[in-house]
């Protein structure tokens, strides 16, 4: 009796905890509402299964508890019941997988009007590169990295000449415009993670990975590293500031002129 009761409390307590938990996701600031919806669907389906299984167990424990005159029912198998359960499970799984794969296709299909930006990781700081007036990023190579060229840009590539490099600073993005973030690392694995964007992707030295998203809300959000990258891992923080298009343009102009000012003495 006590055991059955405690199991009922575990099931109900879990549901109540879920409903009243003050610990919940951050308000979303990107276009990935579909991800949140898929999580909600998954919570409902899995929650129902969990409660059903635990309550059924509790019922059995109470109803079929040992009594001296009780004999268990002898029934090695029940084909119909087993197939029926298998089919229902298959349908439940499909109901979660189908929306999941549908949204995954969107997640990896970058829209044509997305702007390329670069996020660059190294132990233990974030840097960024934004395209200049030509709207394109130049090529780069880890082996070109030097004190004068912290991101290893290929200076022979004309597209790189107007690229705006922000070393260890803040990333600014215009609201409402899709962005394709090209992710690059100089040393070890890192992971570009902004909780409010629901987006996350590893940065792997020797290759370029990507994610795309559209910021939908102006504001300041934290960039965290989500792949253990050494002892400084928790200190690897950055900031992304989503602004109205006009504010963003003003900021970009300012950065470009600073970049230029920094490059001029080197050109001499």
């Amino acid at each position: 009796m006590a055991v059955a009761l405690i199991l009922v409390l575990v099931a109900i307590g879990s549901v109540v905890f879920h409903l009243v938990s003050p610990w919940w996701w951050t308000p979303i600031a990107s276009n990935w509402r579909y991800i949140d919806s898929t999580i909600i669907i998954t919570f409902w389906i899995t929650g129902a299964v969990f409660v059903a299984v635990v309550l059924f167990m509790a019922y059995c424990i109470y109803r079929f508890r040992h009594q001296s005159d009780r004999q268990a029912h002898y029934e090695p198998e029940n084909k119909r019941l087993e197939w029926w359960l298998t089919i229902v499970t298959g349908l439940g799984v499909a109901a979660m997988l189908a929306p999941g794969l549908f949204v995954w296709r969107q997640f990896i299909t970058v829209p044509d009007d997305a702007t390329d930006i670069e996020v660059f990781g190294q132990q233990w700081q974030w840097s960024f590169r934004l395209p200049g007036a030509d709207g394109r990023l130049g090529t780069s190579d880890t082996r070109l990295i030097s004190p004068d060229n912290p991101l290893g840009l290929n200076k022979d590539d004309p597209k790189s000449h107007d690229d705006v490099v922000i070393e260890g600073g803040e990333l600014h993005l215009p609201v409402g415009k899709p962005v394709k973030a090209l992710l690059r690392s100089a040393d070890v694995l890192h992971d570009f993670y902004v909780p409010e964007f629901r987006a996350k992707m590893d940065m792997v030295p020797g290759q370029i990975s990507y994610i795309w998203f559209t910021p939908t809300r102006t504001g300041e959000y934290e960039i965290l590293c989500a792949e253990l990258c050494g002892v400084g891992h928790p200190q690897m923080r950055g900031k992304v500031i989503v602004q109205e298009a006009s504010d963003y343009q003003a900021w970009l102009q300012d950065q470009a002129s600073r970049n230029f000012a920094r490059l001029v003495p080197a050109a001499n």
Partner: protein
């Protein structure tokens, strides 16, 4: 053996192979130390694995102290913290759970449950344990090496695992870890071949494959998988060792480390991740399948009811085993691999939920219309179902590629895998120890201490890991030495972290009750007799308890029925041992023969 002709009553015709004389010990040393008896080897394996488990438990306390009360304990700096999490993870997954289920329970139960005198290669079996012990010593030795153990996380991802930004990366830590893993795999291979060949070749007459207890099926399938999966880790370890010691570039692309270019080029960090998870995912089921098997037998025995849908249970085990080799990259959805892989691996991963769900249904349908004895082993089995279902269902979040994106690398993942492959299998281990301790020692473990141990462990572990999911949902990343200032994290999250730490300390301390019970009951436990649970399987039918070397006395048992003849209508008691002749009812024998 499978095609062995059966007589009219399902009894095998006499084997024409002579009973082979075992190597009987001649001294105390060959009996208790360098023993070739699988049962002694099982106890040696279990003792070492449980000791490593206690070390790993203390490590988990230390990391929880840091997470719950950051900065309070000055001896836990970032280096030490990462070393603790790495060693805790690797110890628990490989050196505790794998070693205990296969080396411990496998050695004890396989020969007894299939009616053999011993493993088929007793000498190799003995070597397996001593090689395992060496692997443990090397691993624990890395605590005392210059620079300490590696702090790369148990996944040991390069390039960071062998670079200076990671504890032990440029010192001894990572080398000792890789060498220890290689030794472990060599030792495991010796044991694993034994388990597989013994099940295939040394079963008693009449013990057809489809009459074997599910415990044997689970351990057999897991051993077979481990033999296929561990080589991938071995190869990865060799390559990383070359990268670390000889400066090769298997996993090392062009790297500029702290402003200094390294003389490496062309390697692929992702290659290691594929090798690691090709091992690492089957590894989850290498731990889970023996637990599935054991828990099936616990539930059936203590509910006095045949396991429901035995054949479906066997096929589900095999299906899970096979599928687990084609799901590995679900650990890598956000690794930067080709994103189109996501479609394939999400589909295979969610398909594996179907045979897994069948197992859960059959466990709870075994309770249905049973005659449930709430013994301590049964309590642990029931708690296993609750935690396994909970952890399995959150796997449907993480397996479903796009849902994994926000949750990956957060505390949600930590909560998920602890629930499903930490808490759940460990509850089975405890249940199994309470269940089989009488066979090993001839005495029962104390019931009251067992119940205290059970309730604190089950409810405590649930209270630790259930709320932890919600920290991850909020976005708190895992493997953070300290959260520091995070604008989106409210103060209440820190309170929850402190709560989790306190519960973890209590649950950890409660394990001392269990350890005390193990030693106290050796002398003071109630004498159990040979078959205290009135179970059907062969290990309970030995002529002596504890069984001596050779297990069966003069004659090997002959098996007449499947392992689940509980409460057979018309029988004069509520269980019919597998070696009891006389078919009171034809159905089960012919159905499963």
């Amino acid at each position: 053996m499978v095609d062995m002709p059966l007589g009219p009553a399902g009894v095998g015709v006499p084997a024409d192979v002579e009973d082979v004389e075992l190597y009987h010990p001649h001294s105390w040393v060959t009996k208790y130390v360098f023993s070739q008896d699988a049962k002694v080897i099982a106890i040696q394996y279990s003792f070492v694995a449980l000791s490593v488990g206690l070390i790993a438990l203390v490590l988990s306390w230390l990391m929880r102290l840091q997470l719950g009360f950051p900065g309070v304990f000055s001896f836990i700096d970032a280096n030490a913290y990462y070393q603790f999490i790495t060693m805790h993870g690797m110890m628990m997954v490989v050196y505790v759970l794998t070693a205990l289920f296969l080396g411990g329970f496998g050695n004890y139960l396989i020969p007894l449950m299939v009616g053999a005198r011993d493993m088929v290669f007793p000498y190799v079996n003995m070597l397996s344990f001593w090689v395992y012990l060496l692997a443990v010593l090397v691993l624990v030795g890395s605590f005392f090496a210059p620079g300490g153990p590696t702090g790369a996380g148990w996944t040991l991802y390069p390039p960071q695992a062998i670079l200076s930004g990671t504890p032990g990366g440029q010192e001894w830590g990572i080398i000792m870890m890789l060498v220890s893993l290689m030794i472990f795999i060599i030792g495991f291979t010796m044991g694993g071949l034994n388990y597989v060949v013994t099940v295939l070749q040394a079963r008693a007459r009449g013990m057809t494959l489809m009459r074997m207890p599910l415990t044997v099926w689970g351990i057999f399938t897991a051993s077979f998988m481990a033999l296929l999966a561990f080589p991938a880790l071995f190869v990865g370890a060799v390559m990383m060792l070359f990268d670390r010691i000889f400066g090769t570039s298997f996993f090392m692309p062009a790297i500029v480390e702290m402003g200094q270019p390294l003389e490496r080029n062309g390697g692929s960090p992702l290659l290691f991740q594929h090798l690691f998870w090709f091992f690492g995912h089957p590894e989850v089921y290498i731990v889970a399948l023996p637990a599935f098997g054991i828990v099936s037998d616990l539930i059936s025995t203590h509910a006095r009811r045949n396991i429901f849908g035995y054949r479906m249970m066997v096929w589900a085990l095999l299906a899970i085993g096979a599928l687990s080799f084609v799901v590995w990259a679900h650990h890598m959805y956000v690794s930067g691999m080709n994103p189109y892989f996501g479609f394939f691996f999400a589909t295979t991963t969610l398909i594996i939920a179907v045979p897994t769900a069948i197992k859960v249904y059959n466990w709870i349908l075994t309770l249905w219309r049973g005659n449930i004895h709430l013994t301590v082993p049964m309590l642990f089995a029931l708690a296993f179902i609750v935690t396994f279902v909970n952890g399995g269902l959150t796997g449907l979040f993480l397996g479903n590629v796009v849902v994994d994106v926000p949750l990956s690398d957060t505390m949600f993942v930590v909560a998920h895998f602890h629930m499903v492959m930490g808490v759940a299998p460990i509850l089975v281990i405890f249940g199994a120890i309470y269940h089989w301790y009488p066979k090993v020692t001839g005495r029962m473990l104390d019931d009251t201490l067992g119940k205290i141990h059970f309730w604190v462990t089950f409810l405590g572990a649930y209270a630790i890991f259930f709320p932890m999911h919600y920290l991850g949902l909020m976005g708190i990343p895992r493997r953070y030495y300290e959260l520091g200032e995070m604008a989106f994290v409210p103060p209440s999250a820190h309170t929850l972290n402190a709560f989790i730490t306190i519960v973890a300390l209590i649950v950890g301390a409660t394990q001392l009750v269990f350890v005390f019970n193990l030693f106290w009951s050796l002398r003071h436990g109630r004498p159990s007799g040979g078959n205290p649970w009135r179970a059907t399987t062969l290990e309970w039918q030995t002529p002596e308890t504890p069984p001596p070397h050779g297990n069966w006395g003069k004659d090997l048992p002959v098996v007449y029925r499947w392992a689940y003849d509980y409460s057979v209508p018309g029988a004069d008691q509520d269980f019919l041992p597998q070696n009891q002749p006389g078919i009171t009812r034809a159905a089960p024998g012919s159905l499963h023969g």
